[in-house]
């Protein structure tokens, strides 16, 4: 294999293998602050 191919294989392995070891769910969930609170629209009967 030429050097370019070797590098490409290494890069691909790093990325694909990375997904196997990275966490599959966040360790904590941060609350999202809603910056604009809207009042409900009144609908007439």
């Amino acid at each position: 294999m030429d050097p370019t191919t070797v590098m490409a294989v290494v890069c691909s392995v790093v990325v694909f293998a990375g997904w196997l070891i990275l966490p599959h769910s966040p360790t904590s969930i941060k609350p999202v602050v809603v910056s604009e609170e809207r009042e409900p629209v009144r609908v007439s009967a």
Binding site: C11, V15, G18, L22, P23
Partner: protein
């Protein structure tokens, strides 16, 4: 020279694809800013499409591609498209009408100044933006385009390889964006308030449309419908995908979750990096270039945050650094097996090409810094670059254009 209908059809279609990239950029950037500035951000891109479309046919094309003067500029022989007709130009594209080549190049000239607008988003005065864009296109873009792509341009003569604009488009716009961010200064509240994208869906849509249009940007630069265009198409898609995967992986490792906007930004970084190399590298080279873009552009953003430069939409990190990586990588991975009219890079036995690419990168960085700084200072003498504080607080959509992007739910 005989006009080839297949080549002509492909180049005209590619010109349309690249044109689409400018409004796509407007959406990509628009989703990243606060809602009070989204229309202003989109307007930057839309307006530049109109402005440079006219500038190009009047004098821009002549300066960039016209008969060479001192290896530095094209001169004014082709002002108003004088002598730019339908007979092919042998220097540039021997199988398509000259005006088709001009039109294709126009779309590059349009998107390049539009890219810079991401750096000064949310704070530049519209009139200053108009003047800056016109002067920048004329005195920075057109000369660099001539140096690299013009017949007789000094970087072209040196043998610099830039298939579709790593130096001409991305380094010039990215580095100029950094200068603009420094000259204009930080947004109000920068560093104290976190600015969240107001519409991530708009950003991802914009990135997808950019990806689509980039096939015209890179594969269209083959200026013909054949093997080279096919190769450029394949490596473009591969590099974009690899860069997006890499950026997601890096951000997943760094921030503990894969970022959606990161995936979109990563794809764009890969597209930027493969741009100069797209007609010279094979698919393995594209994978490495995409991987590199995902890593270096992500790190560049971390650096930019650390030194507290308010390049609002990370134009320098993605385009300046991505373009630099791509231009240098071209000097490493170029192979005549893909393009016999080019040269081999370092890994194919030609170390000189890596040095030539370094010279081209340095020239693009240098002229972009000098030219952009001078133009910004000049424009500031005529009209203030920044809006007033109160205008920045109410948002540019209202203060500069008198129009909100979204109707209020409380409006009558």
């Amino acid at each position: 020279m005989k006009i080839d209908s297949g080549d002509t059809a492909w180049v005209l279609a590619s010109a349309a694809l690249v044109m689409l990239m400018t409004p796509a950029l407007g959406f990509f950037y628009g989703g990243l800013v606060r809602r009070k500035n989204v229309l202003s951000t989109i307007m930057h891109s839309f307006f530049i499409l109109c402005l440079i479309s006219v500038q190009w046919v009047l004098w821009g094309y002549s300066l960039a591609f016209g008969p060479d003067k001192f290896h530095l500029i094209g001169g004014l022989d082709w002002v108003g498209l004088n002598n730019v007709g339908f007979t092919p130009n042998a220097d540039y594209a021997p199988t398509i009408p000259h005006q088709a080549f001009m039109l294709f190049q126009m779309m590059f000239a349009v998107i390049t100044p539009a890219l810079i607008s991401g750096a000064f988003a949310e704070r530049q005065r519209f009139k200053a933006f108009v003047l800056f864009s016109l002067l920048w296109a004329t005195f920075v873009y057109d000369p660099i385009a001539h140096w690299v792509w013009g017949a007789g341009g000094w970087l072209h003569n040196l043998g610099a390889l830039d298939f579709a604009g790593g130096t001409v488009v991305h380094i010039s716009s990215g580095v100029s964006a950094l200068v603009a961010a420094l000259v204009l200064g930080r947004r109000l509240g920068f560093g104290k308030q976190k600015v969240e994208p107001h519409d991530a869906t708009m950003t991802v849509l914009g990135a997808a449309l950019l990806w689509f249009g980039w096939f015209g940007f890179n594969a269209g630069s083959a200026l013909g419908a054949g093997a080279l265009a096919t190769s450029a198409f394949v490596v473009t898609n591969t590099a974009a995908a690899m860069a997006a995967l890499t950026w997601m992986t890096v951000s997943w490792w760094h921030k503990k979750q894969p970022s959606v906007i990161g995936a979109a930004a990563g794809a764009v970084a890969g597209l930027v990096a493969i741009t100069p190399a797209s007609g010279f590298v094979n698919v393995m080279g594209a994978i490495v270039i995409g991987f590199g873009a995902g890593v270096v552009c992500y790190l560049a953003i971390q650096l930019r945050e650390r030194i507290k430069v308010d390049d609002a939409l990370d134009v320098w990190a993605v385009h300046g650094i991505g373009g630099t990586w791509g231009a240098l990588a071209t000097g490493l991975f170029a192979t005549v097996a893909i393009n016999s009219a080019a040269a081999n890079g370092l890994f194919y036995g030609n170390p000189r090409q890596a040095l030539v690419q370094l010279v081209a990168v340095g020239a693009a960085w240098g002229w972009s810094i000098v030219g952009t700084f001078a133009i910004l200072k000049f424009v500031n003498l005529i009209v203030p670059l920044r809006v007033h504080e109160d205008e920045e607080l109410i948002g540019l959509d209202l203060s500069q254009h008198g129009e909100p992007a979204y109707a209020s739910i409380h409006a009558n």
